[in-house]
């Protein structure tokens, strides 16, 4: 058993490293294509490594499945990891349709960020509560995350489009918003960096606080900037919180999650400022010259196509399979639980996207901004709904 689990985590780690190396090779394809003619060798190496990495991650998935006795999509670590895997899979599909190497340069880092982010949550194999004991667990979760992953590829293509197309010679609303998108990616990196740092340092601070008449303890793995409301620090030599979270913030470990959020934003901000200092220009402006050879209309097409492919998959997994399972487990197929509502919001959003595109001719940049908006909603549903809006899905 322990053996399988260690094989499983090694494989996940291997996949991570392979994606990282593949990203570098995708980066190399940009320089390579200068001499026209034969297909670049870097691109071939890159996609091969990506596929091997994907296979390694499948081994992770299967071994963990055997070890836990259920599909490893039952807690936030497992789910986010699977979502990262879905991103890579969706990228591979789109790559073989369009052979667009630059997509890998952006899709793989996003998958890397997602996997790194996932591994900061508790990774123990956890038992399934009765409501999750159903085949629909993996039918529903795998389909919905695959759908969301394909939709995310739309964002990746849209992001490249925006970086490629937005006029960086003057500061404008568009350059600012593009920086906002890029900054939000830095926040995820910030989260991973800061969590890993304090993990290695083995930092712990226990707090005791009251909630609805019962005394709870919470274990901060990051120094407390925001402490629990009326909390008492139990651990010695740990930092006293700078302030306390407002009393209305509750839910499972809400103060700790809020503290993590503050840390992530701070760390992301520091990283972002460092990057700005390094490039001495906007991040978008720094990347733009690398993308001059990419055809914008192809990016636009990929972005749209990903939505066209992902929307039905998402509908099937996120709404239809979800309803079937909810009907079996909770006697109602729809209950306006926050996670359900946000799946509906996502669905509405992409429905609007498709209508705007098909009937109102929103192509190119408008469509790319929409793709970014869709990704923001997906991430909100994956992360914020679980962490902030507690509901039936708050298994984190």
């Amino acid at each position: 058993m322990d053996n399988l689990i260690s094989v499983s985590s090694t494989m996940l780690y291997t996949a991570f490293i392979l994606y990282l190396i593949a990203t570098c090779f995708f980066g190399a394809t940009i320089k390579e294509k200068k001499d026209k003619g034969k297909k670049g060798i870097a691109g071939k190496i890159a996609i091969t490594l990506t596929i091997i990495g994907f296979l390694a991650q499948i081994v992770y998935f299967i071994t963990r499945w055997i070890a836990s006795g259920h599909a490893p999509v039952s807690n936030l670590f497992e789910f986010m990891t699977f979502f990262g895997m879905g991103l890579v899979f969706a990228f591979i599909i789109i790559y073989f349709i369009y052979r667009l190497s630059v997509l890998g340069l952006f899709a793989l880092p996003i998958a890397l960020i997602v996997i790194a982010y996932a591994s900061m949550f508790p990774t123990e194999i956890s038992p399934l509560v009765p409501s999750l004991q159903s085949h629909w667990l993996y039918i529903h979760v795998t389909t919905v995350s695959l759908g969301e992953a394909i939709l995310s590829i739309s964002f990746v293509a849209g992001l490249i489009y925006l970086i490629r197309q937005i006029d960086q010679s003057v500061k404008s609303k568009r350059t600012t918003w593009l920086e906002v998108i890029l900054f939000s990616l830095f926040i995820f990196i910030g989260f991973s960096v800061i969590s890993a740092t304090f993990n290695i340092a083995d930092y712990h601070a226990q707090f005791e606080y009251e909630e609805r008449g019962s005394t709870l303890t919470t274990d901060y793995q990051l120094p407390a900037i925001a402490g629990p409301n009326d909390g008492k620090l139990l651990t010695e030599n740990a930092m006293e919180p700078l302030f306390e979270v407002p009393s209305w913030m509750h839910g499972a470990n809400a103060p700790r999650k809020f503290n993590t959020l503050i840390w992530s934003i701070l760390a992301g901000f520091v990283l972002y400022v460092l990057a700005r200092l390094l490039f001495r220009k906007r991040i978008g402006a720094a990347i733009q010259p690398l993308l001059l050879k990419v055809k914008p209309d192809l990016l636009d097409e990929v972005s749209y196509r990903a939505v066209a492919i992902g929307f039905p998959v998402f509908t099937l997994g996120g709404l239809i399979f979800a309803s079937i399972w909810a009907q079996i487990a909770w006697d109602r197929f729809w209950g306006w639980d926050p996670k359900e509502v946000w799946a509906l919001v996502t669905w509405f959003f992409y429905a609007a996207f498709l209508h705007l595109r098909l009937s109102r001719g929103w192509h190119g940049e408008k469509s790319a901004w929409l793709a970014a908006g869709g990704f923001a909603i997906i991430m909100f549903n994956l992360i914020a709904v679980n962490l902030i809006l507690a509901g039936l899905h708050s298994y984190a």
């Binding site: 058993m1 508790p122 194999i125 038992p127 004991q133 914008p296 009907q327 209508h355």
Partner: protein
């Protein structure tokens, strides 16, 4: 109706933008699709005459035009999206947690979320999804769906049916993909036609004018999926009627049989056993997680027997019942019978069924029993006579005892925390001693009691909570969802590609249109013209950013 006759001889309905047969732009209608301002033709509905764009006089026309606008439709979607999101800011009324300060929304929202909570509650957002305005919003989307679809489907269907292979030259050179070749031999042309057929194009040839078409059925995808959505909305309306849908709840105690509500007394359920299992904390697999998170439930299960009444019960007499099902109802494994479904939904552990008391002398350190008696908590007798002559009168019985403002009371009629006030009459005495006995309580009101009562034994049982459902609307939802999925797949995973070949002099013009995946159609053309002299089409798209 002012029909429009095109140069090619085809008679088009009023409001047509591009001739249905030859595609020639009809001059006076070019503003409708904005073709007058561009070089490329807007091919959205093949330039067919849409009612909404043609008539705008009567009130019906205006309403029709309003709802047939995709712009309006998208706005409705966006508003629904925002409204739905707002409903998740704070929990909806039905999700107010059981351990909240108060389950009264008027108290809960303000108390928990402060001023924002109060505003949220006062705006009625605590029941947002069943509010009249949210329902109207969804209904408007439904109307928009129907009108948009009819407005576009009918003319588009006609236009695609009536299209001719021979197209007007302007139609071709104002397509996004277009090329002109000066000299093309007949062999080359044959080769192209052959290649098109090999690519599974449907090829029509009219005097050398060629139309190669593929995947036209994907154009109907949007209309099919809209039908699916309409079916779902109708199902949702049906679900509001009691004939189609019923929702009830039954609590049944272990060992008891009770009538299932909302079945007109026709069905009974007996609870043989309720089982709650948790994961073993020594389980190798989950040891670490259980250490971190605490106990995790593994199974909620009711072993139930369902009976059907076979003869109507005569007043007072036991009904005559027939066993129709015996099953384990678990989470994710509901029990179905005769159109009803029972779901394991709740439980209450350790309710008391009976308690046995003993009488002993107050100052006896061994508390030796002088006599015992057992009370059935669901049917306590007023008086118990003990073998040794003691007599115990039940003065007060609190099944679910609690103390409120110094007053003892019962929170419910269920024996969750039973407590009694007893009058104890020693043998041959008419002088009663008053004793208050409950779980962990034994109060001697006067402090002078010679005898004391103690709980010697008790029996417990669990209670199962089950949802009772009958839902005849499910098949409608399923059919709607299937139609929707088929429609979406049809529209999204296939593309309608058309390639026109138009002979001109010794050469020919090639143009192509697809509703999506231009990359794919370009690749098709590349394959088709390879080995011929024909020029590759140029992408004339104007990226108007």
């Amino acid at each position: 109706m002012n029909k429009i006759k095109c140069d090619c001889g085809h008679v088009n309905p009023e409001g047509t933008v591009l001739c249905e047969a030859c595609g020639k732009p009809i001059e006076e209608n070019q503003h409708i699709d904005g073709n007058d301002k561009r070089t490329l033709l807007n091919m959205r509905y093949d330039g067919s005459a849409r009612r909404s764009q043609t008539y705008n006089k009567s009130i019906v026309d205006k309403i029709w035009s309003f709802f047939s606008s995709v712009k309006v439709g998208v706005w409705l979607i966006v508003i629904a999206l925002l409204a739905s999101a707002i409903g998740t800011i704070f929990p909806q009324e039905m999700y107010i947690p059981a351990n909240a300060v108060s389950r009264d929304p008027a108290v809960y929202y303000e108390d928990t979320y402060g001023i924002f909570g109060q505003i949220y509650y006062q705006l009625g957002f605590h029941n947002l999804y069943s509010s009249w305005w949210y329902m109207i919003l969804i209904a408007l989307i439904g109307i928009s769906l129907v009108i948009c679809s009819i407005d576009r489907f009918v003319p588009l269907y006609k236009a695609l049916k009536r299209q001719k292979a021979k197209r007007h030259e302007t139609f071709l050179n104002r397509q996004r993909l277009y090329s002109e070749t000066e000299n093309v031999t007949a062999e080359e042309k044959d080769k192209i036609v052959h290649a098109l057929k090999k690519q599974r194009y449907n090829v029509r040839n009219e005097n050398g004018h060629i139309l190669a078409e593929k995947g036209r059925f994907s154009r109907w995808g949007p209309y099919v999926n809209h039908i699916g959505l309409i079916v779902i909305l109708i199902a949702a309306i049906l679900r509001m009627t009691p004939f189609m849908y019923l929702d009830d709840y039954v609590w049944v105690r272990e060992g008891e049989r009770t009538v299932i509500p909302s079945t007109d007394g026709e069905y009974y359920i007996e609870n043989k056993d309720f089982i709650l299992e948790t994961y073993d904390k020594n389980n190798d697999r989950f040891k670490e997680a259980i250490e971190q998170e605490g106990m995790v439930a593994k199974n909620f299960q009711t072993n139930a027997i369902i009976y059907k009444e076979i003869a109507p019960s005569v007043a007072g007499a036991e009904p005559e019942l027939k066993k129709i099902a015996e099953e384990k109802i678990k989470m994710n494994h509901p029990l179905k019978f005769d159109g009803y479904t029972l779901y394991q939904a709740g439980y209450q552990l350790n309710e008391f069924t009976s308690m046995t008391f003993k009488v002993h002398e107050t100052d006896d350190p061994d508390e030796k029993a002088l006599g015992t008696f057992t009370i059935d908590l669901n049917a306590p007798k007023p008086e118990y006579k003990l073998d040794n002559g003691f007599r115990v009168v039940v003065d007060q019985y609190y099944p679910d005892y609690s103390l409120e403002n110094g007053e003892p009371r019962s929170e419910s009629k269920y024996p969750k925390n039973p407590a009694f006030v007893f009058f104890v009459y020693p043998p041959n005495s008419e002088q009663a001693e008053v004793s208050f006995v409950g779980i962990g309580r034994n109060i001697d009101a006067t402090g002078e009691n010679q005898y004391k009562l103690g709980v010697q034994d008790f029996e417990l049982r669990d209670v199962s909570g089950l949802t009772v459902r009958k839902d005849y609307t499910l098949p409608f939802f399923i059919v709607g969802a299937i139609i929707f999925m088929l429609g979406v797949i049809q529209g999204m995973y296939w593309q309608h590609r058309r390639i026109w070949i138009h002979p001109k002099g010794n050469g020919l013009l090639v143009a192509a249109h697809t509703n999506k995946n231009w990359y794919g159609v370009k690749k098709d053309i590349e394959k088709v013209i390879s080995g011929t002299n024909v020029e590759m089409v140029k992408d004339q798209q104007e990226l108007d950013e």
